[in-house]
Amino acid sequence: MSVIRFDGVSHRYGERRVLEGIQLELTEHRIGIVGANGSGKSTLARMINGLVEPTAGTVTVDELDVRRQGKEVRRRVGFIFTDPDNQIVMPTVGEDVAFTLRRSGLTKEQIAARVEETLARFGLAGHAEHPAHLLSGGQKQLLALAAVMVAEPSVLVADEPTTLLDARNSRMVAGLLSNLGQQVVVVTHDLALLTEFDRVIVIEDGLVAADDTPAAAIAFYRALLG
C-alpha cells in the first residue's frame, strides 16, 4: 500500500480555518473519513490528489510532495467526486474511459481492449457507445469509477461517492469500493459503508477528533452528533 503522510497540515480559506495541524500517516488498505458538513473532511481528501494545497505543512504520497510533484501524484492517486456528472468529460461511455488513457503511450487497439475490459469489470459492458448523459445516476458513478480505475492508480480517493445514489446503487458502488485491490480513502456520511474498513478518522472543526477502528470511531462520531 502507498504511504500518505500529512505533516503539520493546515488550510485556510481567507480568514476561515478549515484544517489545523493535521498529523496523519495513512498506510491501511481501506480508510474512511467522516465528519459534519464543513468540518474539513473534503478538503483533507482533496489534498491527497493535489486539488487543494495546504497553506502550511506538507502532504506526501509515497514521498512525493503533492505541491511540487502534483503531476506524479495524480498518476498514482485517482479521485472520484460526489456528482459524477461533473466528472464525465466525453460524450460517450467508452470515449470517457479512453480519455484517461490518451497520453498513456498505448496503441488505439490496446486502449480499446483496456476500455472494454474495464467497462466489463464495472458492470458497463455493452455501454461503450452509449451517450454518457443518458446513464442512470448509479451507472454514471460506475463510469466515473471505471474512468479513474482504467489508469490503475495505486490509491483511490472518493468524496461522498454514494450521496446522490439510491440505496441499491449505493450498495453496489460501496461493494465495488470495498473490493478494490488499491488503497481506498473514502469520505462519506454513509457510516454503514465503513464497517468493514481498516481505519476510520473523524474530522471535527478542522481537527482530527478520533482515529480508530471503524467500531470505535463510528461510536465516537455518533456520540458527537448527539
Binding site: 479521485f79 467526486f81 466525453m90 479512453a98 448523459h133
Partner: protein
C-alpha cells in the same frame, strides 16, 4: 454529435474520418455547381443511396433532417413567391442534401475520430501558438456540456414549476440567474475533475 454515432461495419463506417470530411467538402462544392432540378434529383438519390449503404435506419436518417423542416418550408415558400419552382427545388435541394451528407458523417464517425482529425488539421498552427490537444479537449467538452446545460435548465424550470411559476411569468432573470449560477458551479467542478484526471499535466 451528442451520441448520434451509430456503430456499424459498413463501407461508409470503415472510411477514415479524413476521407469522409474531404468527400463531404467535394460533394458540397459539386452541389452548388448543379443547375438543373433533375441533377438535384440524381444528387438526392446518391445521398439516399449512401444512407442505404451505411445501413442507417430510416428513423435516424429522418432525425437528421427534422430540425431543418421549418427552414426548408420557409425558404421554399419564399423562392416560389419571388422566383420559380425550379429555383425553389435547387435552393432547398442544396440545403437538404448538404444537411443529409453532413448528418451521415456524424452518424458513421465516432466523436474521437472527428476530434483526432481536427487536432491533426490544427497541427500546422502549432508554430503560431495553437495547442491542438487543448482545442480538441475544448471541442469535446463543448459537446459534453450541451446535455449538462440542458439538464441544469430543466432542473431550474422544474423547481420554478414546483413553486407555482410557469411560462415566462415572474421574470426571465428568475430562470437565468439560478441556471447561470449552477452552470458556473458545474464548470468549476468540471475543471477540478479535469485536473484530478491529469488533463492539464
Amino acid at each position: 454529435m451528442i451520441g448520434l454515432y451509430l456503430p456499424g461495419r459498413s463501407l461508409v463506417h470503415r472510411m477514415s474520418a479524413g476521407a469522409k470530411l474531404a468527400s463531404l467538402a467535394v460533394a458540397l462544392i459539386l452541389l452548388v455547381l448543379l443547375d438543373h432540378p433533375w441533377q438535384m434529383g440524381v444528387a438526392a438519390l446518391v445521398a439516399a443511396g449512401l444512407y442505404v449503404l451505411a445501413r442507417v435506419p430510416w428513423r435516424a436518417a429522418l432525425g437528421q433532417l427534422r430540425p431543418l423542416l421549418w427552414i426548408l418550408i420557409i425558404v421554399a415558400g419564399l423562392q416560389l413567391l419571388f422566383a420559380d419552382w425550379q429555383k425553389a427545388v435547387m435552393v432547398t435541394g442544396v440545403m437538404l442534401i448538404s444537411a443529409a451528407l453532413a448528418g451521415l458523417l456524424t452518424l458513421t464517425t465516432p466523436v474521437p475520430a472527428i476530434l483526432d482529425l481536427c487536432q491533426r488539421m490544427l497541427r500546422p498552427l502549432q508554430r503560431f501558438g495553437v495547442n491542438p490537444d487543448r482545442v480538441g479537449l475544448a471541442m469535446a467538452l463543448t459537446i459534453r456540456c450541451i446535455p449538462l446545460m440542458a439538464g441544469i435548465v430543466k432542473d431550474v424550470t422544474e423547481a420554478r414549476k414546483a413553486r407555482g411559476v410557469t411560462g415566462w411569468r415572474g421574470s426571465i432573470i428568475a430562470l437565468a440567474a439560478p441556471a447561470v449560477v449552477r452552470a458556473l458551479r458545474a464548470a468549476d467542478a468540471l475543471g477540478e475533475a479535469l485536473i484530478a484526471r491529469g488533463a492539464d499535466d
